[in-house]
């Protein structure tokens, strides 16, 4: 027993010399999390990180059986769903997990927005977060095509057509992504490469920077909390207090996801037919539904502009307000702060209304 404990102490010392763990621990103990009525939103980033790990793990497992060919892709998913042990579970976990992740990212985005967490000195943290959301949606878009079923085929067709409407570079960009004039093997190969190699590298690099900045600047405090007198402010240690609660929330979220996956496994539509008509009731994933519904309502011509181009430009400009927010609302003007909040409410309401409308129309 004594020799064992001395061996453990020795190992600890060996690691300490090389990894300087105590310094890292001191740093972690210094970090504090403010306690207030909005503290629950601090968990969103952590849940997103956990879900991302689930996506990486389930994605790697799916690659064992998936072959990115137009003759094989659909059959591979059918095989994973019906013949491979627990295949249905991991495939469903990946699909449900992706949707859950985007939902949590939106919650993270809007909670940070309404708590004005984008203000100095967190402008770059905010913008890196927006880019991470963009990358996550690109994951969704490229991954959607991979099962090669009819809905995914036409959703990709529409998505690439929207991209091609962008002035100057649009057609070129769409052709690069498509790998030719029509969606086919080249598109599937490219989307697969983007989904499993290019985007993960980009995401990991950017996520590293995002998390580093969160550590550097600490947790953002909402205005109502900042205004309190020092003795009325309360904090808890990030390590181990908040982290343990974080882990508990992760477990709850993971269990909720597993229950969803088990009770409602993700299906697959009929194989894509590039020459058949678009299927009835075709809709994109819910996180593109608002744009989809909005484009449905835009007339063919809006003055001198083509309807869809005007619609896309309008949506882009409106969403770009999120990028501009930290440079407009710097915390020095009540009016600007209020305008930024109203913009956020309008954006959120617009997204909810158009998404629900799109889902039921």
């Amino acid at each position: 027993m004594t020799s064992e404990s001395s061996r453990i102490t020795g190992l600890r010392a060996w690691l300490e010399t090389r990894l300087r763990l105590s310094e890292g621990l001191k740093l972690a103990e210094k970090k504090e999390v403010p306690i207030h009525k909005h503290s629950v939103w601090y968990y969103m980033g952590g849940i997103a990180l956990m879900l991302l790990l689930v996506q990486f793990a389930s994605g790697i497992l799916l690659m064992v059986y998936y072959i990115p060919g137009i003759e094989s892709a659909h059959a591979c998913i059918l095989k994973i769903n019906s013949q491979v042990d627990f295949g249905w579970f991991f495939r469903s976990l990946h699909s449900w997990g992706a949707n859950f992740l985007i939902l949590v990212l939106f919650a993270h985005l809007f909670s940070c927005y309404f708590m004005k967490a984008y203000r100095k000195p967190r402008e770059i943290t905010w913008i890196s977060g927006l880019l991470l959301l963009g990358i996550s949606m690109a994951f969704g878009f490229t991954g959607y095509l991979l099962p090669w079923d009819d809905v995914s085929f036409f959703a990709t067709k529409i998505g690439l057509d929207i991209a091609s409407k962008m002035p100057v570079i649009g057609e070129h960009l769409a052709s690069l992504l498509r790998g030719g004039d029509a969606i086919g093997q080249a598109t599937l190969s490219r989307f697969f490469m983007i989904h499993v190699a290019a985007l993960p590298v980009l995401l990991l690099a950017l996520l590293g920077g995002h998390l580093l900045l969160v550590q550097v600047h600490g947790m953002s405090e909402p205005e109502s909390f900042k205004k309190l007198e020092t003795e009325k402010k309360s904090y808890e240690k990030f390590f181990p207090n908040f982290l343990l609660k974080d882990v508990l929330v992760w477990l709850l979220a993971l269990n909720a996801l597993a229950a969803l996956v088990t009770l409602s496994p993700w299906g697959i539509g009929p194989e894509a037919d590039p020459f058949g008509p678009a299927p009835l009731g075709i809709k994109p994933e819910w996180y593109f539904l608002a744009e989809f519904q909005f484009l449905k309502l835009v007339p063919a011509k809006l003055g001198p502009l083509e309807g869809e181009l005007a619609g896309i430009a309008f949506m882009l400009l409106f969403a770009l307000g999120l990028v501009a927010a930290p440079f407009y609302d710097k915390g020095d003007s009540k009016l600007k702060s209020r305008i930024a909040t109203i913009y956020g409410v309008l954006l959120l309401l617009g997204m909810i209304i158009f998404t629900v409308w799109g889902a039921f129309s």
Partner: protein
Amino acid sequence: MNEQVCSQKKCRNLSRADFLGLAVPTFAAFWTMMAGYPIYRYLLPKPGEGEAQSKVGSVTLGAVGEVPAGTGKNFRFGSTPAIITHTEDGEFHAFKAICTHLGCTVQFREDTDQIWCACHGGCYDPTSGKNIAGPPPKPLEPLKVAVVDGKIVVSQG
């Protein structure tokens, strides 16, 4: 240590640090372009790739009876999806089945007697291909239809 750089009227000192400060980013930009260009060309699809071998002048669809009056049918015209309609007046009409809104493949709806796009609800006239409702900005691209020896032959419009 300092070199003098003279333009026509002004002279200024360019230190080694200034020179390097200018040279390194310039070199990096050139290097990035040099490395990026082959990657870009590698990724760029050849014009008409995937379409060249399947471009066709005409397609024979089958017997006239296969598309009864008041119906329509999607078919493959080379590498393009196409649609034929048989209107109640007994005429055949064919179009490229690519919706002019966002490129989805359209279909004939017997309940409304229209060509319809499931993606955003665009409607076209089954006789002329004219856009009549929804977001499409232009009519469908027409194809020629002829009946030869009791068979429907569709060719480029």
